[in-house]
Symmetry: none
Subunit: 210 residues, 4 copies
DNA sequence: AATGAATGAGCATTCATTCAT
DNA sequence: AATGAATGAATGCTCATTCAT
């Protein structure tokens, strides 16, 4: 009993060891720049061992994405579940929450957002693909719920709630990537935080029922 | 003299021949999926010839991006210059204009937006890099001008104009990529146009001075 | 004692379990196409377990060959021992007998004949190698006896009996492989049986003393 | 004109350079033992260059086989065309001719015969496959012609001529492989030549009309 | 101007085999 | 006896890029 469990935990632990290493390497070198050997080395394993834990490079990368995605979803759900916040306040809470996740690991967040849907994410095992889809769906559901409540309360204008959820996410993704682009030209500049703030201010203002 | 000019025109013509071919191949196969040989073949040249016109694969790709970017800038400038439109109307004109460009060549636009700032765009020749920077700057200038005019007229709330320009662009980029992602899961769905519309409606509403 | 024996039998049983599985996998995928993992799975063991019963992949393969070889030898010896057959008739009985074995498991017979002496069969453990050699020797002895009897009786021409044994075997091997080759070009054709018949008719005619 | 031709010849020359190198490496290490790198090195080229001349390892190997096959076919056709030989004599001339080719390059002949129809020879480009098929067909045609002439003249017994051609080839192939096997057990022994002789003596005797 | 020819450098993945448990 | 876990070693093939002609 104890043995079984310990083995399982060990295995899970090593899986994470690999994912951690991969996270760093991918962030540093990009998806195609990173080699399995790099990752293996960083994880203190042999390349072949990586394949005991992940079907292939794509799935390893996708696992990382999924993990990140889940963190985002959690954050959003947390906001959605806060009974003491008004719908307005929930929208206003978004930029801070999203930025917090971004801050944890800027490179990987940027990466996730950029490669949201590259070839790398096609050809995944069905389970992984559906897990990713689930996470995305959860996000949408939460955002829709927040929005519809506001509409029901008469504080938000009535419009397509899923489209709204899309917009909220896209603003975040778009800004992260765009700021990244700009940083490419001039590395000193980093206005992501205030710009995010502004963007969601505008949005929350823009959906208000006058 | 005439000869000189003809030569130049010829050269420019062949450059475009290559870019056209490249555009299709990149769109079809993605950046790393496309090979110089593919492109050369499509352009009816030998691979080596490509290098007479472009320093390397990255620059070829970046040239394409630049071209697309210029089209966007043009469109935006055109809106900015329309004297008969109010500041409000100019903002409202954005989604249609941007979507029009998108429609021209969805794959390449998506591609441009995704790889805005990948490694591919580092290591460019200084000229090309600065040309891209210029185009981006032009876009920002135009958008800033539109916005500041509205602020001056008291119809827009006062906030950082460059941040506003960033947001406007990011919404577009973000939505295009996100819709592309969603299409990856369910190819039938394509709500880019109405969602863009809604997004800019919200924005134009959100920056209005009450 | 009883326990000892039971253990031995069990072990032998599992050995055969593996060999059976291996036979199928090798036949289906060829020697290099087959993986120990494939075989282990088919035998309901883990790969590591295979190595408790066979030194390595080569030996596992060779064990199979040996088994097949023994079947051939048996058949030939059976013919050799039939007192009621004349030397002539014994030669004439060969094609049917050989074909019968072939029929049992065409893929594995073909395989055995093709890889009779590949690298796979070098590096064997001495015991296995000598067992294979023994089987081959037995075959030769039997064939030589048959032939020499015929010579002694004055019905066969006098020639080198071992060479004769070699020829008899080679015709069989050669035809099996050649028919296999031809089947590669046109899978419908399969004339092995009549061609074997004809070949041994010619031989038995050819060695007759006029 | 001269330039074109010289280029072509050069190219052909390098192709042969590679084939020569490959021949040696394949013979020394076997098909799967040989690596492209080995071959490239032996041919004084880079691995990538090999692929300019051959689609892949399989085709390179098959080209070698084809070459060898053509030599065999030539030899046989030469015999078939010799007007001054009787049908009997033609059959009797076979072992010497076949052995002569064998002697040129025993390793490769053995190899060809062993892998006549391995996976390596599947997946070939249609041209190459058909060339090989053609060569085989030519051999059969020649042998059939020889045999049928003998039948027509009343010196050979009447039997299926293609089967006869198959047998003739199979005896050669079978004996070469079998002698190779035996050499594996005891390298000193090499009785291929006399055994071939004997085999075809038996055959020519066996098909004679009494 | 154009290109045929050549290549260096790179890389995901496979698998037989070992060994601690 | 059985195996889960780990790995060393191996390799065809691709492709951007260069350069002599």
């Amino acid at each position: 009993m104890g043995i079984e469990e310990r083995k399982k935990r060990d295995k899970e632990f090593r899986r994470h060891q690999i994912m951690d290493a991969a996270k760093n390497i991918f962030a540093k070198k990009g998806f195609s720049g990173a080699t399995i050997e790099n990752i293996a080395e960083a994880a203190d394993f042999s390349p072949a061992t990586i394949y005991l834990y992940f079907k292939n490079k794509d799935e390893l990368y996708a696992s990382l994405s999924l993990k990140m995605l889940k963190i985002f979803v959690e954050k959003i759900e947390f906001i959605g579940n806060q009974e003491n916040l008004s719908s307005q306040e929930k929208i206003k809470a978004l930029p801070k929450a999203l930025y917090q996740v971004y801050e944890t690991d800027p490179l990987n967040v940027t990466h996730l957002l950029r490669y949201q849907s590259t070839e790398a994410l096609r050809n995944l095992s069905p389970e992984l693909a559906s897990q990713i889809k689930d996470a995305a769906q959860k996000y949408i559901n939460t955002m829709v719920r927040i929005f519809e409540k506001g509409v029901g309360e008469g504080v938000f204008q009535d419009c397509h709630p899923v489209a709204f959820a899309d917009i909220v996410w896209s603003i975040f993704a778009g800004l992260v990537l765009w700021e990244d682009t700009k940083k490419g030209f001039d590395p000193r500049k980093d206005f992501l935080k205030p710009t995010l703030q502004l963007a969601y201010d505008i949005v929350s203002q823009g959906i208000k029922k006058c």
